[in-house]
């Protein structure tokens, strides 16, 4: 992997630098550490924070800016709807597996509205987890996801699936509104 280059004001380039130690990542890694130990004590918390910082320094990752405007209510709705979809679609796929009729599939292109990579990743992950669809190809330049959908008898239901996927994206956007202005400039 080649480092991303940034241009300095005088025109020369330098490798992009980001703050390696991000508070959210440290918090998450510390929680994982505590979950592994299965108990909470001051010594464990301190040790967990130390390990988390060491991991962040050793394997730096670009930051995700989601903290900009998290909307708890919309997020709760997103998660609840996701769980419902997970269960409903699992039952559907089980039905498809068990019945005797031959199955017809489709490869559907979904053009996402948002141009943020983070939203695209999130939508792709959720669509993959919801049964009946697998992301076959993701095109970053046009923000298009190509999904293989199970059990599509005709074109109309392919169209319905596309609408469902776009609805999911709308819910993600409502829960985690991206900050629009700096994306165009960057």
């Amino acid at each position: 992997m080649s480092p991303v280059l940034r241009t300095r004001r005088d025109g020369s380039t330098r490798p992009a630098r980001y703050r390696a130690v991000q508070p959210l990542a440290v918090l998450w890694l510390t929680l994982v550490w505590l979950a592994m130990w299965g108990e909470v004590s001051p010594l464990l918390v301190v040790g967990g924070v130390l390990v988390a910082v060491a991991v962040c320094v050793a394997f730096p990752l670009p930051p995700i800016d989601i903290a900009s405007g998290l909307r708890p209510l919309a997020l709760a709705r997103l998660v609840a709807r996701f769980l419902v979809d997970l269960v409903r679609a699992s039952i559907q796929v089980s039905g498809v597996v068990l019945r005797r009729r031959p199955v017809r599939n489709a490869v559907v292109a979904v053009d996402l509205e948002s141009s943020s990579d983070f939203v695209m990743t999130l939508v792709a992950a959720m669509l993959s987890l919801i049964p009946g669809s697998v992301v076959v190809e993701a095109r970053r330049s046009t923000h298009t996801l190509y999904l293989h959908v199970l059990d599509v008898p005709d074109e109309e239901s392919a169209e319905r699936f596309r609408r469902d996927a776009l609805d999911l994206e709308q819910r993600v956007l409502r829960a985690l509104p991206p900050h629009a202005p700096e994306e165009a400039g960057a």
């Binding site: 108990e39 796929v93 089980s94 993959s128 987890l129 669809s133 697998v134 992301v135 392919a158």
Partner: protein
């Protein structure tokens, strides 16, 4: 080891449902005609099945430390099954392993000519 509490009953139901879902995933593995539809059968009921069994286990053990660990299992399972299913699906589609006769709509093959460089996300 007895049916003392409603929690135990709930745990038993969760474990049974999870096992059945895993079995359905396995049946799908054997029955489905091509790799991509097999992957639907594989990754999906299996995720819910694991979640249910793990839920049943945590209802049974009722130990906060264990619940944290099991939550971690579920999160890891969800995060990793996405990655692996996408990688396998992409490799399979690029290798032309898709049964085109089973597809009703195929919007990818039409523009497959536009290839992004290898290793692009």
């Amino acid at each position: 080891m007895s049916w003392t509490t409603p929690l135990d009953v709930a745990a038993a139901v969760c474990i049974l449902l999870g096992a059945v879902l895993t079995l359905i995933a396995a049946i799908g593995q054997v029955r489905m005609p091509d790799l991509l539809s097999r992957m639907h059968a594989a990754t999906k009921p299996q995720v819910l099945g694991t979640v249910l069994i793990v839920l049943g286990l945590s209802l049974r053990l009722r130990d906060p430390g264990v619940v944290g660990l099991l939550l971690l299992v579920v999160l890891l399972q969800m995060a990793t099954s996405v990655v692996s299913s996408h990688m396998v699906a992409r490799a399979s589609f690029r290798a032309g392993q898709v049964r085109h006769d089973l597809l009703v709509v195929d919007e990818l093959s039409d523009e497959q000519l536009h290839e992004e460089p290898r290793g692009a996300p």
